[in-house]
Symmetry: C2
């Protein structure tokens, strides 16, 4: 195991009706004037925004609003948010929504207290300071509610890039599984896929003898395999929603990723797709990850056989472990199809003729040096080959 | 899943040589004058105490010392520590050792800033405030390095009781697995048993459909089953030590126990044994827990069959799930024996004739109301019956 530090100071408030306590937690974590940041109409239509406003009113905490966050959140709205916060003297950013809204809120929170261009953070500068952030989560997926990460698309070139740093950990996050019950099945399935992808990015490692994090990751994957189909079959299954929601947080707060090399090439390969075609991130991952697995499993057949056996229940083929490894990948494909996820480039609206451009952007775009991935180092040519496996 | 809050703001520093950075972390978390709290000679003999003093000197942070913490730490030393801290103007308590030392440090840290008797916390008063606490962990066992809990024995009556509260979460904890390599095999095995017991206390629940925490607990148990024998066979196996150390923290910081009823009767039943006979807590648990399981498995045969199948690899007997449940308990007994743990009252130095007294103290001692346990509610008679199963 590699040396590491782990710090997850977010206060999690989990369960039914907890969003009605938002004002109390904003007060507790030092907010005196709040930016309410959210996406489209569903937060308004469902009455959630009003319930949160009522809870802030109860604490006599003033607020300003900035809606309009889109999936694959854009830099333009971040600049707008930074300006608004400065003008209004906002000292606390509250995200109401899913990963896109939280990531946008994080970018604003860091940008407000930074003299330079906030995009510096998305080109590698560590986020040490930001306004305090709170979240009310409405979709279990990105894990941004407990993570030190954020992903934003720069409209100047359509680069989708990530930033990280302890300043990005929310001070509190309110997780009410019931708020996710109204999601369309497709978005629920995208969330399930994203959570599983966060686990696989950590699972495929070159670090030896990391049983504790292997087993934790497998446990969370098994949870998704059990609960995913249950929630697709019955969107109102609160218990399944609750298990998925906590798994989503645990999958990405990194307690199961510490001390080991992680991969993350699949996320980078997917980000080019959602940046260019504006597909859902989870849907993109459903297409990318099995292709990445198929292309790379030979680098560590036994690790792929291990997850096939432990998570997918494949019988181990001791004479030909490769068969088990491949069977596991097929199980993952079948699972994704069963919850309604796409399997091909065409289903995402992506085009074969864009592959050279996509591969080049993934490998070299916006300051990258030509290689992706910690488990296997992929060149531009490898990345193009992986895109071709998605056709 | 029940509603819950989860807050674990400890900064974990994990890996080789990290104890040499202690001074830096004391500085970061606001310590200006430190109490160095530790147990017996091994911390001194190994040179660990000197390395920590050197790191404090580098930061020009003054300190006073209080050694002498014993396993099953006593109230007398806590009172002494509180007085010393007040006299010397100490504002940070640094525990160097295992669970006993950390628990004693926590009691001192809470007592210094409290006007009443610190024992109030061990009779149910929530610990909201304490001096900041740091730890340098030397044994993977109690999980106290990341937990909001502490257990102290009151010498006035030899009651062993627990206290809890967010004030007890350490500000930072340094976990260097190499520091545990010099432990005697017996103590290592006691630690392994304690970690597994923390997991089982959470696993046996009346809460339905808690797959995510079930799977996390099972993953951590599987880690212990894999790494336990490896570290007993080779005390210098750093990787096995590292996996056990992180599992020990994860087992007790409660991320795998949230939202579900927990049991904790076995801990309470054991505490009477270690309070009266001064046996090692882990050794006591090795005797108590299988007996508790045998006495109670009929309350939820399928849950016992589940852990037998998922953790111990027992074949499910679909016609008679009870057989699988019992096979799992036997696997746990065999595992404990294989790592050198005791199985009977006699091996602990406990006496059959004390059973009525032990059961009465467990059920009614020091303000208790006659029942123990969340999974099954045990009466004084039940507790006596469980003690008898240990003969």
């Amino acid at each position: 195991m590699q040396n590491f530090t782990f710090y997850s100071p977010t206060y999690f408030v989990f369960g039914k009706d907890q969003e009605n306590e938002t004002g109390k937690y904003v007060r507790r974590f030092g907010g005196n004037k709040v930016l309410l940041h959210y996406g489209g109409g569903s937060v308004v239509r469902s009455g959630l925004l009003d319930r949160i406003k009522t809870s802030l009113d109860k604490e006599a905490i003033p607020y300003v609003e900035l809606g309009g966050v889109k999936p694959n959140p854009r830099s333009g709205l971040v600049y707008e948010g930074i300006e608004l916060c400065r003008k209004e003297g906002v000292d606390f950013v509250l995200a109401i929504g899913g990963g896109s809204t939280i990531d946008s809120a994080k970018a604003i929170a860091a940008g407000v207290v930074y003299d330079g261009d906030f995009w510096d953070f998305y080109q590698g500068k560590l986020v040490e300071k930001a306004l305090p952030i709170g979240t009310v989560l409405t979709i279990a997926a990105a894990g941004s509610e407990g993570s030190p990460d954020s992903v934003i698309t720069n409209e100047d070139g359509m680069y989708k890039r990530g930033a990280t740093g302890e300043g990005f950990r929310p001070t509190f996050s309110i997780l009410n599984p019931a708020l996710t019950q109204t999601l369309p099945a497709y978005q629920t399935a995208c969330g399930i896929t994203d959570i599983m992808a966060h686990l696989f990015e950590r699972y495929f490692t070159t670090t030896k003898e990391v049983e504790v994090t292997d087993r934790m990751i497998e446990g969370l994957l098994l949870t998704m395999v059990h609960e995913g189909p249950r929630v697709i079959a019955d969107p109102n299954n609160y218990e399944a929603r609750a298990n998925i929601m906590w798994a989503g947080m645990m999958a990405h707060n990194n307690s199961c990723g510490v001390g080991r090399v992680q991969d993350w090439a699949s996320h980078d390969i997917e980000h080019e797709l959602s940046a260019l075609y504006d597909c859902a991130h989870g849907a993109g991952l459903a297409v990318v990850f099995p292709a990445w697995m198929t292309y790379n499993y030979k680098h560590d057949v036994m690790r792929f056989a291990q997850v096939a056996s432990r998570v997918w229940g494949c019988n181990m083929d001791f004479a030909n472990p490769e068969n088990t490894a491949l069977a596991g990948i097929q199980c993952f494909r079948n699972f994704l199809t069963s919850i309604g996820m796409p399997a091909t480039f065409a289903e995402l609206g992506a085009k074969e003729e864009d592959i050279p451009k996509l591969a080049h952007m993934a490998a070299y775009g916006d300051g990258r040096t030509g290689h992706l991935g910690g488990f296997v180092s992929l060149s531009e040519e490898d990345i193009a080959n992986i895109y071709r496996l998605m056709l």
